[in-house]
Symmetry: C2
Subunit: 406 residues, 2 copies
């Protein structure tokens, strides 16, 4: 008699984006001609860079002829991509990460979700609140989260670290034993960052406690400020306590193409085991490598033209973020993020809940955002706006908000 994984039954419905979609659809039905502007979901809108497109076409042609055909590739990813990453994302920035510590995948969400495979099931997990739901849900599925407390909207065995204006969105070090800590900087959803000093504090703490930091750097290419590390390995000591997740999704428009990578340093050892070797074994057993076509496209991001084209697209999003930040501030709102991030975290007007403000923006201004409460209890009182629309739509949305709240 086959029994199911009992931990799935406690998962609360993931209603956030479906509820947003439902309310948006209802609005559109009632107002078919309203010029809707979507600033809710964190998906890119600009096309792939021409250098990436050319590389993908060439790779498809490789698969079209017997002499250039590629069958099974290395589970860890092709050398041409691992080497390019090691050189451009790390060596060029004086960061010590070698190609054989880099594991290419079909995206950071897969890696964030699967990394738990290499850890003990009784590991105590810490996350920020608000938080990207994958960290929590994947651990809940594995049984690490305890029970779902519907009233408090939290899991009994997860250690939550509120990140709010009062602490400048920097999580405090845990005051009880914690084994795995998810940190995301630049942060989804708040758009805030951890400074060099913040990360030094966390790395010191993790090494002292033999904890492991799971560092999500999916948005690192949006960092513009000097003092903000783009990789946790810029911090001394991180190689013995941190795993880092990277993505081509937001940096190079790969949300639909799918490619990311994970760094597991050889110096990271727990219980006498190399976590790099464990992740390698996990990937070799349960993954068969990312698509050759897509890896070739990702490698083109590191060519001179690719770099230039990708930066030009990022500048569009960075410009949008600036427009949103400054526009909301001028309209009297308190906002965070947007400087080193495509996300802007905006406090709701006094006394207004995040779903209430979401509804106001949708129904009065035809703007779709994301209510902060969807990311956790400490997200209540905020909404998230994204910089991934066109400059024209972004400017129009901000004009509408400024007019309404002038």
């Amino acid at each position: 008699m086959a029994h199911v994984n009992p931990h799935f039954q406690q998962l609360p419905g993931s209603y956030l984006f479906s509820e947003i979609a439902r309310r948006t659809a209802a609005f559109k039905e009632a107002n078919p001609d309203a010029p809707l502007i979507r600033m809710g979901i964190g998906d890119v809108t600009q096309p792939l860079a021409p250098a990436v497109v050319a590389a993908m076409h060439a790779a498809v042609d490789d698969l079209a002829a017997p002499e250039s055909f590629h069958g099974y590739g290395p589970e860890q990813g092709y050398g041409f991509l691992r080497d390019a990453i090691a050189e451009h994302d790390f060596a060029a920035r004086n960061i010590n990460v070698s190609a054989d510590e880099i594991f290419i995948s079909d995206g950071a969400k897969s890696d964030c979700g699967n990394i738990g495979d290499i850890f003990s099931l009784d590991a105590k997990v810490a996350v920020c609140d608000p938080v990207y739901p994958v960290y929590v849900d994947s651990n809940a599925m594995a049984g690490r989260a305890g029970d779902w407390d519907a009233a408090a909207e939290c899991w009994t065995n997860i250690y939550y670290m509120p990140t709010v204006p009062e602490n400048n969105f920097v999580p405090a070090l845990p005051d009880e034993p914690v084994d795995l800590v998810y940190l995301c900087s630049p942060n989804n959803p708040t758009g805030t960052v951890l400074s060099r000093a913040d990360l030094e504090k966390w790395v010191r703490w993790a090494n002292e406690h033999d904890a492991v930091i799971l560092f999500d750097a999916a948005y690192e290419r949006f960092v513009t400020e000097e003092d903000v590390p783009r990789s946790i390995y810029e911090i001394e000591g991180a190689r013995t306590c941190a795993i880092e997740f990277r993505s081509f999704s937001k940096t190079a428009g790969f949300t639909g193409a799918r490619c990311g990578y994970t760094v597991v340093p050889k110096d990271l050892v727990r219980d006498g085991q190399s976590l790099r070797d464990m992740w390698n074994r996990r990937q070799c057993t349960k993954f068969n490598g990312a698509s050759y076509v897509i890896q070739r496209g990702a490698a083109a991001v590191y060519t001179p033209e690719g770099e230039r084209q990708v930066e030009a697209t990022l500048d569009v999003y960075r410009g949008n973020a600036r427009v949103i930040c400054e526009g909301l501030k001028r309209a009297g709102f308190s906002v965070w993020g947007g400087v080193n991030s495509p996300y802007i975290w905006c406090a709701t007007p006094e006394g207004m809940g995040s779903w209430e403000f979401f509804d106001l923006l949708l129904n009065e201004l035809a703007i779709v955002t994301t209510p902060g409460a969807g990311f956790g209890p400490a997200g209540e009182g905020f909404i998230r706006l994204t910089a991934f629309n066109t400059p024209e739509a972004t400017q129009e949305a901000i004009t509408r908000i400024q007019t309404r709240f002038a």
Copy 2:
């Protein structure tokens, strides 16, 4: 203090293909001019079908322009591909599987490896011996396999079902309680198949015992005989007891492009939970959909030109399989498989171990095969040959064997 998953430490090294590579490299170094023929690894050699290539190029172009750009796709796969599969792989063959029971992925290996996420950790697992190692290793990592018994080369808590000439390679029904049963037909590595009557027996048993069959149909397109089901859902009752894995790897040359799918019927319920809904939740949480480019390519397999071109390539491999089968028989060997499969299972000469025969073929004839012992204890005394080389190389290999063993 973070602890690792303790079950990884018991995993024996996966030495099979690396040991083959090592011995092959040593041979090549000693014999740089020897005309090596590779019939070991199960990887395709023929290029993608022109219809698939054209669809991938068009999809890359979609990603190159803002109006046709595709960002995040559905985690379950695009409707255009799920619908094409439902129509061509199932409805056209009078098999009851609907599009919303089909989950597109980056390959069957990922799905076979990840499916355990939805089952209880104390499920008792049954596998055939010899066996595709992913079934065993993924369960060992999850802690379902017990301890590794190095002397017996088996896990203490896995139920092994020998498939050998004596039982015509049909596993006997378990004589003790078993919850999850992996069946692979056409089989890797033996190349043998389960008949309709065999599968009816298994489906009846699974329904009677509330067990779940994990049916790996990655090689179904190689089935040529009438009485051999290409899907377990051809069997009445399978919708309440079976999950099926499919792949575009061998059928359409996608080993490097990466695409597969898994069918979880809505009628499959255990502990009152829909396994389809659980798998959907697992994929939504830990996967972000297969690449748009690759899904477009996979959909082209179902166009009239795609079907015709794919069949033409499959005919090359089918022809190779026939040449290997008949050639080995004429040389006096006992062989199985090859009729409904790209794999040929060949008994070693009297008294010769599978590594010994591997070495003989490599060192005397410059032919690379796979020793059966690498797939489990019951694989000792056999080697596996694959039909994925060119017709010329395949014929040449068989000629060498016939000359040597005439």
